[in-house]
Symmetry: C2
Subunit: 221 residues, 2 copies
């Protein structure tokens, strides 16, 4: 059966995309464990999902498996990489080289996954010009000129919440269409700009809610 690239009009749900990320990570692991093929059942078990969910998710994008056998690990991993758009390098800039910013620069998972932080910006004179993990920190004043020059496609925002919107306004002016935001604010951006928020308080608050209310988990088969 040939893997087919469906170019369907149907909107794919956010959950499906997130699960593709999980499948990708698990397939990498399976590859290391020398699995040649994997069934939807096994994949589901590892992700605490149902096999039907796994098959349905994949079916939105094509047919990748062999009946009676399962999915070829290496090939499926490649296909998911292609679907997610991580079969290429993304040039990433980070604004705000503080506590969390510095941590992210050192985060090996990003570079392993072809997200390369190649530019850093800050407004602190003590930081500007200094070399941080092999990257010279640029002055935030030069954001609008240097982002296009460096062919940046994704910007990570790690500045204080009070200035995040101003920074993002400039980031958008520079033509950037994708932003990963760590500041605890709702950013306003034009319709054609994608923003994802990392909100750690939200997850802690979920834990808090769950404990206080003995919130039942979704049943898992």
């Amino acid at each position: 059966m040939e893997p087919t690239a469906k170019l369907s009009k149907k909107r794919i749900s956010e959950s499906t995309i997130h699960r593709l990320s999980l499948y990708y990570r698990t397939l990498s692991l399976l590859e290391k464990e020398n699995y040649e093929t994997v069934s939807s059942k096994e994949l589901a078990k590892r992700e605490k999902l149902t096999p039907a969910q796994v098959r349905k998710d994949l079916s939105f994008f094509g047919t990748f498996g062999t009946r009676g056998l399962g999915y070829p690990v290496i090939e499926l991993k490649k296909q998911i990489a292609s679907i997610l758009g991580i079969d290429r390098q993304w040039r990433v800039a980070l604004v705000g080289v503080g506590n969390i910013g510095s941590a992210l620069v050192s985060y090996k998972e990003f570079s392993r996954q072809d997200f390369h932080i190649v530019k850093l910006f800050d407004n602190d004179q003590r930081k500007i010009g200094s070399n941080h993990k092999g990257i010279v920190i640029s002055d935030i004043k030069n954001l609008e000129t240097e982002l296009p020059e460096a062919k940046i496609e994704i910007v990570i925002v790690a500045v204080p919440a009070t200035v995040a919107q101003y920074i993002v306004d400039d980031v958008v002016k520079a033509g950037i269409k994708a932003i990963l935001n760590f500041a605890p604010v709702n950013l306003k951006v034009p319709d054609d700009v994608y923003v994802r928020n990392e909100n750690m308080s939200m997850e802690l608050e979920y834990l808090s809610f769950a404990m206080v209310n003995e919130h039942p988990k979704k049943k898992v088969k």
Copy 2:
């Protein structure tokens, strides 16, 4: 109309809880801006949601508004805090005082929201015993005894992925029921333990997918 605390059997969706966190943050902002009341319309606008969504979310927990007027900002904030269980202090420990761990210890939003990191653990002899932001780093060997001693209720896991499961096994043995995990692995825990994962690659991959596929956003009114 009296605010009523519904003790319903119905499972509240994860999305609703996450939105409560957003409402809470926005209400804090509205309080600072000296709003006395706020309508579901205004709240929705700030969160990029529909007014109906806001009202429905709140209605699961009681009736907090006044028809013709809206919701009293301070009172609603209190009510949401009570629902989320953040009207009290949570004692938090963090394991793995590395790049991301250190950043989290410095994260003021946590302490402002009554999540207090009061204990740090690591296995690096150079770090153990040293004072980090006013907390002496403990030896990971003492995890099982010191977690109960310090009355810890939530543990943040910020150790390398390869050891995360072992750490979590010990954390669970120590009786902890809530874990915030930063390691990129699917942790196995008993049914009565809540785990939330912070997966930053997932969000970057979502951005990647969205850009490559020109993924339409959900329509927003």
